[in-house]
């Protein structure tokens, strides 16, 4: 009969298409993590986590992409995610950086964000590979109590999960949490849990399904300086006559537990080990070598409490704000310095010039909420473009400076949530014809010539009324 045959055909077609879609929609079911070890370092206010994953390909097709998941609560605080794979034999292993990109997964549970790691060589069926992931979280330590007096110690809460969030099945996993001091008020126990001194061990946990979580909370003492720069504007002015002038405007805040009550200067200075333990007085900035004309001032005027120590590889500027910073206190200041041009400006092979400079804040162990770098190119520069190793927002502006007629092009790069890991080099390319350097002295010469022409005109014009 026709009708049953047609019904059987459509049923077969539906079954095949269903199987086809099932096989296509889950590339992640081929892989399985045989061993995962996570070490979370809570010693400073930037949370650093090192994840070592051993991934096995249990499917039949080779895989070259691995998915990494993070809970949605950490999404806004994730500053960097890096993946490293070791290459080579036992004695000569080198670390190779793998590309990591954020991805969207529409058909997965939506309380997580995802990153894809692209492997250098595809992982064949039955093989396994080990690689490390390093990620940093900012603003993840919540001060609890939120307000403390001058003589109290700072206690913070760190929330995470004892089980590593992953779209793959994990056979065995362990998490180690390292606190800065042995003083831990409380921590969630998810058996088996062990605590020894400054390290808390969660695990090993066997055979957990994908997307399994077990929320934990660690309440511990952290008196490391919570130095956060709310806004940093760095301006780098290039002058082809041999100098790079850098001006940095900081808005610094202590992002730990807020200070409540009075501030007694006598107590603070006489008993430094028991009062103001979470405050900080000194900040260290690492500047390039051969720096000159360094100044440190704010709106009132020059701040003289600073020291500059220079050697052949780096210069260190130790600054002390006008007052020590306790929880919630702010300080704004400007640091400026000059650098020799030949260390930073180069000529590339296709006749373009480029500036090679470091992104990021020179202050050590600080988080910057919003960083803006402005590179001011000399007058007469064309075709500016910036090459930065991580995503930033770019746009162009114009600035009028010394002896300018048409204005200088400014390349503005902005980034949010910057940690010291971002102190890598970036390049700004532009085209400049050296003949334009003559524009400045010729402008000065023509101003003087105008004066001489005025003299000649005055001496030749007859202004007498009577003949």
């Amino acid at each position: 009969m026709e009708a049953p045959i047609r019904a059987r055909d459509t049923l077969a077609l539906a079954l095949f298409s269903l199987l086809f879609f099932i096989c296509r929609s889950s590339p992640l079911n081929n892989l399985l993590i045989s061993n995962a070890e996570r070490r979370i370092d809570l010693s400073s206010h930037i949370v650093k986590a090192y994840l070592t994953l051993k991934v096995e390909n249990a499917g039949s097709t080779p895989a070259s992409e691995i998915l990494l998941a993070f809970p949605l609560a950490q999404a806004g605080h994730l500053a960097t995610v890096e993946a490293l794979a070791s290459k080579g034999k036992r004695k000569k292993t080198t670390l190779v950086r793998l590309e990591v990109k954020p991805t969207e997964l529409p058909d997965a549970p939506n309380d997580a964000i995802y990153f894809t790691i692209y492997l250098a060589n595809p992982l064949n069926s039955g093989e396994s590979t080990t690689f490390e992931v390093l990620y940093m979280l900012t603003r993840s330590l919540e001060p609890f109590p939120a307000e403390i007096g001058q003589s109290e110690s700072q206690l913070v809460i760190y929330r995470d999960s004892a089980l590593i969030l992953s779209p793959y099945h994990i056979k065995q996993q362990t998490t180690f949490i390292k606190t800065p001091s042995p003083k831990v008020e409380s921590f969630t126990r998810v058996e088996p849990t062990n605590r020894a001194g400054t390290e808390i061990k969660y695990g090993p946990y066997e055979d957990r399904p994908p997307y399994s979580v077990s929320p934990i909370l660690v309440h511990f003492e952290n008196n490391s300086p919570f130095a956060v720069v709310e806004e940093l504007v760095r301006e780098v002015e290039i002058s082809h006559w041999g100098n790079l002038q850098v001006t940095e405007k900081y808005t610094l805040v202590h992002a730990g537990a807020r200070h409540k009550g009075v501030f007694s200067r006598v107590d603070y200075q006489s008993r430094p080990s028991s009062t103001g333990v979470s405050s900080f007085r000194y900040l260290l900035a690492r500047l390039p070598p051969r720096v000159h004309s360094v100044y440190y001032r704010d709106e009132i005027g020059n701040i003289s409490s600073s020291h500059l120590r220079a050697d052949s590889r780096k210069s260190e500027l130790e600054i002390e704000p006008r007052y020590p910073l306790l929880g919630g206190w702010k300080a704004t200041f400007v640091i400026g310095y000059g650098l020799p041009l030949q260390d930073f400006l180069f000529e590339s092979t296709d006749d373009r010039r480029y500036l090679n400079f470091t992104f990021g804040c020179p202050l050590l162990e600080t988080v910057v909420d919003k960083l803006t770098i402005k590179v001011v190119l000399p007058e007469g520069s064309k075709d500016p473009s910036a090459v930065v190793p991580f995503p930033v927002e770019q746009h162009l502006e114009t600035k009028y400076s010394y002896l300018d007629v048409v204005g200088r092009t400014v390349v503005v790069l902005e980034k949010k949530n910057v940690v010291p890991m971002h102190n890598s080099h970036f390049q700004v390319y532009y085209i400049f014809k050296p003949i334009f350097m003559l524009a400045e002295p010729l402008m000065l010469a023509s101003a003087f010539f105008l004066f001489f022409v005025a003299c000649v005109a005055y001496l030749h014009i007859d202004l007498s009324i009577r003949k």
């Binding site: 400045e440 010469a445 003087f448």
Partner: protein, 78 residues
């Protein structure tokens, strides 16, 4: 890392800036002096405008470059 390239320096060595500033300004002021001496000592009929303008142009070129190197040696990198 950054691609390799040749470092770019100023067309005039840094160490010469103060010397060049003083020398060029001195020559410029001498030529300016000769311009004003010519104006003062010649009478209206003998003046030749070509000589005045040429002296003025030479003086302004030397004074222009001299003031540029003066600004550079003082730390105002224009």
């Amino acid at each position: 890392m950054a691609p390799p390239g040749k470092p770019i320096t100023s067309p005039v060595p840094d160490a010469w800036y103060p010397t060049l500033a003083v020398v060029l300004l001195a020559i410029g002021l001498v030529v300016t002096a000769s311009f004003f001496i010519y104006e003062a000592t010649s009478s209206k009929r003998n003046r030749s405008i070509a000589k005045e303008l040429v002296t003025g142009a030479v003086a302004s070129v030397f004074l222009g470059f001299g003031s540029l190197f003066l600004l550079l040696s003082a730390g105002v990198y224009v």
